[in-house]
């Protein structure tokens, strides 16, 4: 009996010693709230990336350990989760929840001097509202999306366009950036409409847009069901002006829920299926999980890879050294156009290359070829 107890104690000691060897990375996700459709595949990408890193020996000879917390997409809970992760010893926090929740976490990470990154949020204000040198954003900003779409549409010499979005936080934010981008380009927004979450039709909004006779319509909404309502009304009314959409139409669910409504619509994307890194990622992910990943998985995968790279470059888990390493990182990942690198020039903490997005077109119900790259 005594031998057994000694053996158990030894095993527990070894396990504890082993546990101390891990590098703790906090992840704040939304498992039940409105960000869940994005947070879930992003988290899957993070898990796959962490598994891949650990299989290859980890970072600095230590395995990565993910501490995952659910903030339900609520900013009030999100800051508490960040505090919990800091107290649990996380040396880096990845936020894959709603933009306002990520914003709220920054109060904690700034105060606790803990590096934090969001690999998927696209609100432009995350790195500008608070001077937090411990925070980075690698998702493509809303302003980059509209600039890329406009650069594609500029060839068509648009003068009058309509803008439609939804009433989610991010939909409103993207709508604001879209409007600013359009006005900056001298394009008149002749109708600006909002479809509320939970609406049963978008016909009144589309009637108003039809009456304004735009040359094209820009969609900035991020709620899939409401975007489907818009597309359905567009087809039912027999409207012909072209539609240019935010990255939301790049998620593959549209191919099943909006069958017959998609042909010819252009959308901005941060994922080029012809990119060699994407092909390798898709093959590896499929081999490991049996499922084909899509663009949202790539955000999480790139996020955890960059965190690992920053720690490797820092040569230690000292948060200040990781901060400095992260700020000077140059990383080529799955997301972005061919050859794109995430970089953080001095004073900038949004790392997605402004020329790193692509515009793709729906061919029938399939997400088709890249028709435009960057803002040039």
């Amino acid at each position: 009996m005594r031998t057994f107890i000694i053996a158990m104690a030894a095993a527990l000691f070894c396990a504890a010693a082993g546990a101390q060897e891990t590098i703790k990375i906090g992840v704040i996700t939304d498992k039940v709230g409105p960000a869940k459709p994005y947070s879930e595949p992003t988290l899957e990408g993070i898990l796959f990336g962490a598994e891949e890193i650990n299989r290859a020996g980890g970072v600095l000879g230590r395995k990565l350990e993910l501490l995952i917390e659910d903030d339900q997409g609520r900013p009030d809970i999100s800051a508490t989760m960040a505090r919990k992760l800091v107290d649990a010893g996380a040396v880096f926090i990845l936020s894959i929840t709603l933009t306002p929740a990520t914003q709220q976490q920054q109060n904690v990470t700034l105060e606790a001097k803990t590096p934090q990154m969001t690999p998927m949020n696209s609100g432009d204000t995350l790195t500008t509202q608070l001077a937090n040198p411990y925070f980075w954003q690698t998702g493509p900003l809303g302003s980059i999306q509209i600039a890329t779409l406009l650069s594609h549409a500029r060839a068509k010499q648009l003068k009058r366009v309509a803008l439609i979005t939804d009433n989610s936080d991010l939909g409103q934010l993207l709508g604001k950036f879209f409007r600013a981008g359009l006005e900056k380009s001298g394009i008149e927004v002749v109708a600006e409409e909002v479809v509320a979450r939970g609406a049963t039709t978008a016909e009144p909004q589309m009637q108003k847009i039809r009456a304004a006779k735009p040359e094209a319509m820009f969609m900035a909404g991020v709620l899939t069901p409401e975007n489907v309502l818009i597309l359905r009304a567009y087809r039912q009314m027999g409207l012909k002006f072209p539609i240019h959409s935010s990255y939301n139409l790049s998620v593959p669910q549209y191919m099943s829920v909006a069958k017959g409504l998609l042909n010819g619509i252009t959308f901005v994307d941060a994922y080029d299926p012809d990119k060699p890194e994407v092909k390798k990622f898709e093959a590896d992910y499929r081999k490991a999980t049996g499922k084909l990943p899509y663009n949202i998985h790539g955000y999480g995968y790139d996020g955890i890879k960059m965190v690992a790279e920053a720690i490797r470059k820092a040569g230690s888990t000292d948060k200040e050294k990781i901060r400095a390493a992260m700020q000077s990182l140059s990383y080529s990942g799955v997301m972005g156009a061919k050859g794109m690198k995430y970089v953080f020039p001095e004073g900038k903490r949004a790392g997605f290359d402004p020329n790193g997005m692509v515009v793709r077109v729906y061919e029938g119900d399939k997400q088709g070829r890249v028709v435009h790259v960057g803002q040039k």
Partner: protein, 281 residues
Amino acid sequence: MSDLLELSLSAAASGCIYALVALAYLLMIRPTGIINFAVGEWAMVGAFGGFLLLSKLEWPYPLGMAALLGFMLLVGWATERIAVRPLVERGAPLLAPILALLGMLVVFRESISLGFGPDPHQVPEAVGFEHLKYFTIGATLAVFAAVWLFFETTLWGKSFEAVSLNRRAAALMGIDLSRVTAVSFAGGAAAAGLAGLLVAPNTSAHYLMGVPLAIQGFTALVIGGVGRVEGALLGGMLVAFAEQLTVRYAPLPSGYAQGVPLLLLMLFLLVRPTGLLRPRA
């Protein structure tokens, strides 16, 4: 003018969805006094049932619809047995089952979210899309006619009426209160499930669709009046027309126009809390 006609048809179809959700509330409130905010989640369950039976298993629409309504009757009955009856039998105050049902709302939503994932799913329509609105209006009118006939012409309907007038007296007259409560929940779930099935071809089935429907249905109920079946239909129509005509014609940004039904709700609660149609004396 053609815009107005086009919009009227769209508003009538949306109004039917709200009316069915309002009817679900009404069927339960009248005999029990319980406001069940989980009706929106029942509609969501109906939408996902449609996805499973009609999209996944590819059952013929009439068969799938009938099976779904049968399933929803069971869901309503089970909800009453699990979340309401134990509390009522222990003499808990009316607030207790209302709170328990709010808990069920989370149970339904999270069960669906875990089972089907967070992404929306496509649900096929009974008829071609160009005729979907007519089908929604027709099916809703048929349900309302059936419920109206049930209350007006059958002994069972009269027993519901008696319970809603005075539970104690009804019990003394030999009416089985537990059975009336169970049937009211079963009927409520079927009405809400039908709303979900009818709206899903437009909106797709997704796990967050319940709460907005519950709010619109409740607004319709307050406006139309709790006392009469026709009130739910009238309320649903008024909410949908107010919503869509405001978005289309009011000189307001459409973001603000969404608040109009809620303004109506507050107005009615303040000025005419019994709704437009008062209960018969």
